[in-house]
Each structure stands twice: as C-alpha cells, then as structure tokens.
Symmetry: C2
Subunit: 253 residues, 2 copies
Amino acid sequence: MIKVVVLGSGNVAQHLISVYKAASGIELVQAFARNTSALEHLLPEDNITSTYTGLAEADVYIIAVTDNAVAGVSGALPFRDRLVVHTSGSMPMGVLCGTNRRGVFYPLQTFSKTKQVDFTTVPFCIESENDEDYKLLYRLASAVSGSVYRIDSLQRRALHVAAVFVSNFTNHLYKIGMDICLENNIPFDILKPLILETADKIKLLAPGEAQTGPALRNDTLTLEKHMDFLKEENLKKIYTLLTQSIQLYGGKL
Amino acid sequence: MIKVVVLGSGNVAQHLISVYKAASGIELVQAFARNTSALEHLLPEDNITSTYTGLAEADVYIIAVTDNAVAGVSGALPFRDRLVVHTSGSMPMGVLCGTNRRGVFYPLQTFSKTKQVDFTTVPFCIESENDEDYKLLYRLASAVSGSVYRIDSLQRRALHVAAVFVSNFTNHLYKIGMDICLENNIPFDILKPLILETADKIKLLAPGEAQTGPALRNDTLTLEKHMDFLKEENLKKIYTLLTQSIQLYGGKL
C-alpha cells in the first residue's frame, strides 16, 4: 500500500484526489488545502488539513498547486526525509526546496473542473533523484494509468511548450471557429465532427501526412477569398502566419 | 430510388462513391474520371466513364473535383435540365455554368485516402435554387448522414474559413508539437491523449470555457521560459501571436 497526501485544491489536485481515493494499492491518507471547504465534496472533513503541522505521515507528498506556489509549499513542509513531488510541466525538479528526496509527477492532460478525465490513458511524466523513488512513483502512476514515461526536466520543458501548441493554441483556434460561426448565424455544432476527426486522424497519420487545405496546395484564389472575408486584423495576422508556416513546413515529415 | 453520378477521382469523390454504392435508397449508376483506373478499385469498369458523352442518365450529378475545375466540368456536361451540384466549401453555387438546376452538396469533413470516415456524423451543407431540388438533396444527404444543414453560399464561405482554422491550422499545430517532441527525443505518442481530450472537450464546453494555459492566466514567467526555449523565428512568431490573441479574446464566451 502506497500512502499518499495531495496538497492543493485546484483542477489537478481535485482530479488526483478523485482518482487516488478509488485506486487499488493506494491509500489517499489526506489532502491539504488552505481553504478546506474546497475539498469537502471529495473527502471527509477529517481527511483534510489546512496546516503544515497537521500533515499525516505518507510515502509520497504530491504538491499540485499553481507553479509559483510550488517552492513556497515545499519549503514549508515540516520534514526533510520524505519523498515530495510536484505536478508542474514547466517547473524544474530543483524548485522543491524543503526536502532531500525530490521528484516530479506530471500528468500530461488538460483538466477542467466540470469534465471527467479517463486517467487510464493519461501519460504520467515522472522524474526523481534516485532509482528507489523512481520505482515508487512508477508504481503510483501505474496504479491509475497505462502510460508512464521517464522524462527529465529539460524534456519536460520541451513537452510543456509542445502541449501549449497542441492544446491551448488549438483550443483557441476552436474559439475562433466558433466566433466565425456565430457571427454568420451558423450553429457551432456543424464544426464539431470536423474538429473530432482532425484530432482522431493523428492516431493513424503523422500530422505532416494528414495536412490538407488551401495553404498546403497553394490555392491562391481561396487564400485571397479567405483574407478578403476576414475583417479583423488579429484574425488576418493569424491566418497569414499559419498559412506561411504550413507552406514552409506543413507537409514535411 | 435516387440515381446518382459522381464526377471526380480525388479524396472527396472516392469517399462519396464508397458510401453511396452501399447506401439504401440510392443507386450510384456511374462515376466519371479522366483517368478511369483511379476508380477501378471502387467500381466495375462498366460503371466508370471518361467521356462526357458517355454519361449515364441520373437524378443528381455530383461534381467532386478540385475547386478550379468545377466550372469547366459543369460547362462540359451535355445537358442543361438535370440537377448538378458541386462539393466545394469555397465556391459559390453560381460557378456551375452548364445547367439550369444548380446546387451545392458540401460534406464538411477532412478526407484522407487512407482513413475511413464515419459518414453518419458528417454534416452536409446543402443549397439549391428551388425547393424541389432542395428536397432531393436533403434525401440524398440523409441517406448517409444524420446531420444535414441548409447553408447559403455566403454562410458556406464563412464555414470554410472557420474550417481552415479548426482543422488545417489545428493540424499544423499538431505538426509543430510533433517536431518539438522529436527534437527532444520524446515519443509523439505522449501528446496524443492531450490532443484527443482537447478536441473531446468541445462536446461539453464552449472553447471559451475550456481555455487553459499560461497565456490565459497571464503567467509571465512561463511565457518567458517558453519564448526562451523556442529558437526558431517562425515558432516564436506563432507563439507570440496566439498568446496575444488568447489574452485579448480567449476566455470570452
């Protein structure tokens, strides 16, 4: 049985609490939050603490707080010899200052409070200072996911940048598509199958192989019509830049 | 029984031939291609013609050729009184010059030769000059899809631009993500669940609600780290522009 404490009350913390309180081989002994009421829908009151001195004994302490708070929380822990990990994609392992046993436990997924996530497919990127702790984190991740990777801090930074492109920026392109629909009295539903199929394609085809559209086939007439249609400067700039990028790099493997 | 002829041998034509030769209530009487061998894996030789004079009688002629060839193919048809439609997202209905009964039959999906498409969820955007022909096209689309919309030429142009943003541009962001992974010895597989979940979210959440990431929360430290990581001018520009766009418009509904 691996005993776990989760520190934090945001999206990632709440998803980890939900999945670990039901995972076999894992005992979620406690959660820590400055405001305990944020977690009361997930855990009994007795299992939540708001003070560092009230922290229970555990094998792993998972700090799932906002990036800028990771160092502060780790420095406030009242022990030095237990395994402490953070869940951030963009912070190096070394930011953990309150412990001699550091690690990273980064679930590479986008979490929203209102949407369930299937953890069995969430890739966990783990890192630690020694092999014993790596094995412990590997078991912890494997208890809920079939996809566990050893990723060092430099690779994790690259992954985090890549994740911004394929998730945050992609979602913003969906937003632009929705705005264009609404301005033209078209239901956004009409674009959803296209969005889902575009994502689904990457299971079978590399994005370089899957690329289609007027930019790649250098269909100047359509590109001009589209630029003419777009009135807003911001959208014109995005259209131009991504079209150029596809023409330079889009179809290459 | 609606009799159909498909003209063309590209991705869209081949997918339409595949789905209509198996659809109930529809008789795919013939396909037309300059190079008949491109369709021989789909239809018996007798059902393929390469000459306009060899065209069979049908209720609807679907011109599924590259945008710039639509006008030429329609002008070459040896009749004026039959319903002729094109499948293009970006061409107006009026581009069809060889007929007195025009229509548009635009399946809003991304088609690749090597990937099967589930037509039951493909939105068909249809337009016609008269109500009788609209009803015919509606029956034709409904024979394979549960999602049929009446969309005029102006709306279709807006939709086509929106589709470029949510599909072509999105796929290019996947390509950038893959390139970053490969340069850092990270398997691209690790990003796939994130890509799929980001798309899946739009079923439940509007993109404005689903937006996450350092741009939206104005996490300056992470944004600087990412800009520092990106060495290529093209990627720096895309990162900067999409970050600004999210900060200006991203979280709004």
